[in-house]
Chain length 288, copies 2
DNA sequence: AGTCATAATAAGTTTAATTTATCGTGTTCA
DNA sequence: TGAACACGATAAATTAAACTTATTATGACT
């Protein structure tokens, strides 16, 4: 059984005659007859009833038609994949996003981009601190979005956004501990993200204080909300809680809101495919 | 792109080498190399990385593999369909069941039979009165199950079951109308199923009474429950309601519970395929 | 270094698909 | 009703493809 035979069969059903199927498939009518004959021999039954003027599917033919439709569809999909390859589209690209840049609009854009490039698997990594830079440097990811850049000489860097990091703590905790100035903070746990890279710095670290180091971004917000300590969080993530006065902003000599520059980065020595290029361009356009 | 090429590709991935794939597919190694080369030419990319000793999928290869798996599965399905055809299995059979024979056990059996014959579409018709016989006679359905047989000379008839039809009415209605004997019933609507065949008789009809004729079995039970009239219902369908005394059985000269013989029927002059034969045999075994 | 295993390539062969030409049959329309 | 037309089956010839044998190159194993 050949895919070609199945295609011929479907074209006949679709167009209603051997001859028109032949024309559409750029073959002669006997070739069509022969294809169907071979198929019928292999199946051991007639698929078309020729006793009528127009060929009609037999009950066997109908059963075959139903079950072979899936193949036609899958095959079209594969041919689209082939076209995507011929256009040099990458089968897979990686995009590393620093957790502080996460916001619903951006995620919606990423989803839309992914949908518009169905043959490229978009691997999204939500990372912290040096991890995004490392992923881009090691070419695990084609594109990164982060504030943390240690070795810009190897990277294309394009500033796209600002994120305000605000040191906050739970209001109850503030009252309970009677925090008046920066030194009071030393007695309270600081919630920080630990960097996987041992040489990587942490952001906004208060020297001399106690620290809770989390391995990732997942629960930092919840832990600070719960009043287990203080820490920096992106302003756009906590606007609701600030308005409800559940959290208070800390303002001291070293500890106060700071704007972070967020950049798109990609490796200078990397050949990018059309999808990665488009993603880069669209990310820049998205932030203007 | 050929189905054969896809199969070759999958065999290589599965077995890890061109040579073993060749052996498994009863071809020589160059034939395998050639197939893959053609496929790669058409896709415009390399699917295997040959720089390592063992061929490894490239990222393009992995994308191709994922998207082509569906075709492998569909094709195996089609080949099973082909085997089913070669065993002369019917692509479709019809089974007409008189509504009075309906019960959960039988339906469960029919479901199980259908599952055990995935390549035969089992069309189940729930019919009434002469409809089952007509369907079998006209060869719309291979097998029927009914008490109603008018022209047994054309049919194989095999008795399998008895169904007790009991004339019942709502208890409230009985009290309200003070039904003491058969003549009292004439004043109450009789709920009967109308036969589609004009020559077909109805069952248990009380001459001279008022009648509600329903076109099918669907609401007869509900209508009698609701106290809109009296009528015959299969005992096995109303045991719960009799126990709860919501319905009462009518016992008069002509109107009283009657046992109906239920038979399997099939057309004498019909060539049956293996699935219809098996269904016939299993239905008989099921009722013993 | 030498042997074994794997895959690419080339040339020749076989098989399968396709075409041209022809025939019979059913349809259409004057 | 019969002539022109359309459709599909068949046969023979042609073309294209797939496959095989033989050979070479390269990595792996000892």
């Amino acid at each position: 059984m050949t895919f070609d035979q199945i295609l011929v069969f479907h074209k006949i059903v679709e167009l209603g005659s051997f001859k028109s199927a032949a024309a559409e498939l750029n073959k002669t009518q006997p070739a069509i007859s022969f294809s169907i004959k071979k198929l019928e021999e292999e199946m051991g039954v007639e698929l078309f009833d020729r006793s009528l003027y127009r060929p009609t599917m037999t009950s066997h033919g109908r059963a075959f038609y139903e079950r072979s439709s899936a193949i036609i569809i899958s095959m079209k999909d594969l041919e689209n994949l082939s076209k995507s390859f011929l256009q040099k589209e990458e089968p897979e690209i990686g995009f590393s996003l620093d957790g502080i840049c996460l916001n619903p609009k951006l995620l919606k854009f990423v989803k839309s981009f992914s949908d518009r490039h169905p043959f490229t698997k978009l691997n999204l990594c939500i990372d912290t601190l040096s991890e995004t830079e490392r992923r881009v440097f090691s070419k695990e990811c084609e594109i990164g979005m982060t504030h943390f850049i240690k070795e810009p000489q190897f990277l294309d860097v394009f500033p796209v956004d600002k994120v305000t990091m605000v040191p906050v703590m739970n209001k109850e905790l503030l009252k309970e501990k009677k925090v008046k100035d920066q030194s009071d903070l030393l007695l309270i746990d600081q919630i920080v993200i630990g960097d996987k890279n041992p040489q990587g710095a942490s952001f906004g670290l208060l020297e001399g204080g106690k620290k809770w180091r989390l391995l990732d971004n997942n629960f930092k917000k919840e832990i600070i909300f719960a009043g287990l300590g203080w820490g920096h969080l992106p302003l756009h993530n906590i606007e609701k809680e600030l308005k409800e006065k559940k959290l208070v902003i800390l303002e001291f000599e070293d500890i106060h809101p700071k704007d972070l520059q967020v950049n798109l980065i990609r490796h200078k020595k990397h050949q990018f495919g059309p999808v990665a290029k488009t993603l880069w361009d669209e990310l820049i356009a998205f932030h203007q």
